[in-house]
Amino acid sequence: MNVLQQPRNAAATAEGQTVLSVRHWDDRLFSFRVSRPAGFRFRSGEFVMIGLPGDDGKPILRAYSIASPFWDEELEFYSIKVPDGPLTSRLQKIVPGDRVIVRTKPTGTLVLDALLPGRTLWMVSTGTGVAPFASLMREPETYEKFQNVILTQTCRRVSELDYGADLHRRLLDDPLVGEEAAVKFRRYATTTREPSGRMGRITDRIESGQVFTDLGLPPLDPAHDRVMICGSMALNLDMKRLLEARGFTEGANSRPGEYVVERAFVD
């Protein structure tokens, strides 16, 4: 997909979409699905502004990665619940039938167009940063372009990994990419606080080489690896440092490179 050939929904008008389902994963995380605005197109990995009308009538909007595949008739979003968050304190209470504003100007750097060809795609996330990868892991182009597709997700608690585990289970039944994903896709989840089978930050596991031993892959090298990062500010900065020390250059839509980075948006 060439960004220049894709019509953009530049008008970006605020539009009410209907909430179709809501799932609460634990006390701090939930996902929900809404109707898709007519004519709305996006590239896997992009985000849009969504929100609710504020008390003063002015919409409260935040950036949310689209967590559903491009062909889905519905749009899925994955969100944290911030008790005092201007948006999420209210958004977490939505029920089917409610309306949510979805602005129709998708954007983002976590897109395949921003990466040079390579052998292994690393999608590195913390927390709700897994959301854009929920779309990319079901994008056929991901498997056309890469031999290995690795999703890493690091959270404090085990229950925070449930959404990613569920995505992985459903990936194998995916009508478009299920067969290829069964061969090429692997998920590598770690926790930093609650004990689990695999503990520690992903950056430490990259530095120590443990992740490469576990997955049977060679260490990160700009010659064959491509990296997409979406997490906390700390993860993003640490990964950036780590990759640039290894000779990786940052890509963009206008200038593809060996890695791209985006914040996991929180309130």
């Binding site: 970006a12 200038r255 914040r263």
Partner: protein, 174 residues
Amino acid sequence: MTYVVTENCVNCKYQDCVTVCPVDCFYEGENFLVIHPEECIDCGVCEPECPADAIKADTEPGLDDWLAINARYAMLWPNITEIGTVPADADAWNGKPGKAALLITGDAPSRNHPQKPTYPAGGEPAPEVQEGFEVEGARIAFPEPGAGAVPVVLTRIDGTGDDGFEMDGLRVKS
């Protein structure tokens, strides 16, 4: 925090940033773009897109002057939501030093938007007195609005000559 457009945008104005901005917070001058600091959501998508590397996070040191320019002209210039004509000589200007002096801040119509700029609620700002002002025994003439980077000439009121100083463009701090 916000992102800020800085010097190397001057005369380049590639506008890749405009295409990717999720909140359409760019505003367009004749040869420069600015970001509205209160509309920017710090998503950072525009930063790597800029071919001129002109967009910086305001957490970087030394950007106070550019932040002030972005804040001021976001209020005065028209909003831009789609890429327009990129200057034909943009690549030639990319990276040239001293471009800050060439920044056109007047309210002249832009190449992409030949119509008069629209102003936010509150209407067009009151026209400033353009004749200039006097300082002890001398007169400073303002350039015509929208004339761009022209020398500002200081002349003696007593008419004994204009052996004053010149400066590129004009910068008045209130």
